[in-house]
Point group: C2
Chain length 356, copies 2
């Protein structure tokens, strides 16, 4: 039976991408070799890297003033690399605390400079996105998390500020257009919208680099990877290859405008069902609802187990909510089809008719 | 035509591993989902991690006093993580400079403590392994590189010392038995003997940790990953899976004793041909010859191009020597068969008959 994969991450990828990746694991590009055994310095893999970078630039509109890097270590490594590269001990940066990952970013940044938490929704279990806060004009940057996977909230409008924005886009990267010039640094672990686990996309404005006095290990200095074109050391070849295939698919679908439309339609379908269905309710402020991670609770605790059973029977997987919110979470990233969301809403409606 | 892959890394893996990896990229374990889209917290992937760790412990003999970690960032990240976790600013560590990678390890370590270069073969273009050197008894550790991929030298006997040994085994890990109790820390990028690029195996003695006064970012503290069982953040799922398959294959071949025998036989076949063949010569001290990377030069410069052509015609790939040595390099890691080495020696003999 076809499975509908609603996992929060690692997460669904386009079926065509997985098929092409499987073929390449046997024979890549007719080389008679697997993508798993070829040199990262082979002309065939250098072409993959070049295409991946070009796709990132084409989709985002990032010009040469940005470095486009394919690193490892996940967004968790960017939590410390960003301040390590951008802040001196006496410098200030502003952070918005919109979830557990944002809080981890704050904790790591405190080792490298003065961190001001400009706003937080922690007291409300991160059920909304903080807005209308004051920012120190002397701050070096403002750090935001564009989508909060655990809570199902998403930043739909950037705050007004002249500060360069450093943004963790791990869970909504390339799900909608990006106003690139607002950003000094964007980072995103691949394993939601971009590819499999094991590679992290980083886009950094070059003129922000080189202003810190601390000594940086070569691997932790963004400039090393800009200069080495993400090949200073052996990069994660296969994850980068699958990311390139995924970005090709995004471009072929029509790019970020098309993705945004597709994602809005899927999310509306699901939120409409949650709002109309007497058995379920949403968990976050309506205006901050995420188009990527849709969190909802059963109206009665006893609905939880039988609804999960009904989902399982219909081939819907990955719907258990994170322990800090409970209930259900449907992650509907780029590669999730409208049809799969429809299967979920059908199960929800059917469930309400049975128990209602 | 079948290709014989002599690449230095990323490098040949067992054909059965690549076939199983390709199947898992479509459907993993009959889940109806690809290994590329499943949660790292799924019970199916947790079983992969547990089996990978157990295989590492079974093969190496490492007990619970060692943490076994699957990290990202390559050996290049261990160059700074090792001293960052093991050395205070005023502490000393001894390093042996046996190649370009060892020299990079030295350079990175200097940011974290007092580094003594106990011995170096740099002046001889690293054509031998330094031996019989004095070590500061107060040093916290001795850093070695067990195999030098670029130059084709290998450490065949550990120096006599009571210091804990920190060893970069990237290019010969699990190619022969390991005298585990001599080591405080072993690290190895996967992409030679262990799997595809994108994961690094680290084995660290737990009692060496927690003695430094500097603040460590969570991701750079080995204790974080020991406590989190390499799942503090999303690990590189697919590279770890393929490493597990490769370790399973090593165990099924008979483990490290069987690997050592297999590797000695292949290397002897090739070195015997180099020594007997009038068209070629070895590049390093005989007693330090690597069983993994066999470097050799043409006796006359004009042999180079036609020999490479002959190799290509026979389906032998990845034989071009590193620019700092020149000539040819045959990397014959665990997964390389005796038959493929035989094809290479046949081409060498045939070449000598044609031009000799």
């Amino acid at each position: 039976m076809k499975k509908h994969n609603f996992s929060a991450g690692p997460a669904i990828l386009p079926a065509s991408v997985m098929e092409e990746a499987a073929r390449a694991a046997i024979d890549f590009n007719g080389m008679g070799l697997s993508i798993l055994e070829i040199s990262h310095r082979s002309k065939e893999f250098e072409a993959v890297m070049a295409e991946a970078e070009q796709l990132v630039r084409d989709l985002s509109g990032a010009g040469d003033e940005y470095g486009v890097l394919f690193l490892s270590g996940g967004a968790s490594s960017q939590f410390f690399m960003a301040p390590m590269n951008l802040l001196n001990e006496e410098d200030t940066a502003c952070y918005v605390d919109s979830g557990v990952w944002a809080a981890k970013a704050i904790k790591e940044a405190k080792n490298f400079g003065k961190i001001e938490v400009a706003a937080s929704s922690k007291e409300s279990n991160y059920s909304f996105i903080p807005k209308s806060y004051a920012l120190s004009p002397a701050a070096k940057y403002l750090h935001l998390t564009s989508n909060n996977t655990i809570y199902g909230t998403q930043l739909h409008e950037l705050p007004e500020t002249d500060l360069p924005i450093v943004c963790d886009m791990s869970s909504d990267m390339f799900s909608r257009p990006i106003d690139m010039e607002r950003y000094g640094l964007i980072y995103a672990g691949a394993q939601k919208n971009l590819g499999p686990a094991g590679v992290t996309l980083v886009m950094v404005k070059k003129d922000l680099l080189g202003h810190v006095s601390r000594k940086l290990p070569a691997m932790l200095d963004y400039r090393t990877h800009i200069e080495g074109e993400s090949m200073y050391n052996t990069p994660p070849v296969f994850p980068i290859y699958v990311m390139m295939l995924t970005l090709r698919w995004v471009a072929a679908q029509g790019g970020l405008d098309a993705m945004a439309l597709h994602n809005v339609q899927k999310a509306q379908l699901l939120y409409n069902e949650i709002d109309a269905n007497p058995c379920f309710k949403g968990t976050v402020a309506e205006e901050d609802r995420s188009l990527m991670n849709v969190c909802f609770l059963p109206e009665k605790a006893e609905y939880e187990a039988p609804f999960m059973e009904a989902c399982k029977a219909a081939g819907l997987v990955g719907l258990k909510g994170h322990r800090s919110v409970g209930g259900f979470r449907a992650s509907i990233y780029n590669a999730m089809s409208q049809e799969s969301v429809q299967v979920l809403t059908d199960v929800m409606r059917d469930f309400a008719q049975r128990v209602g």
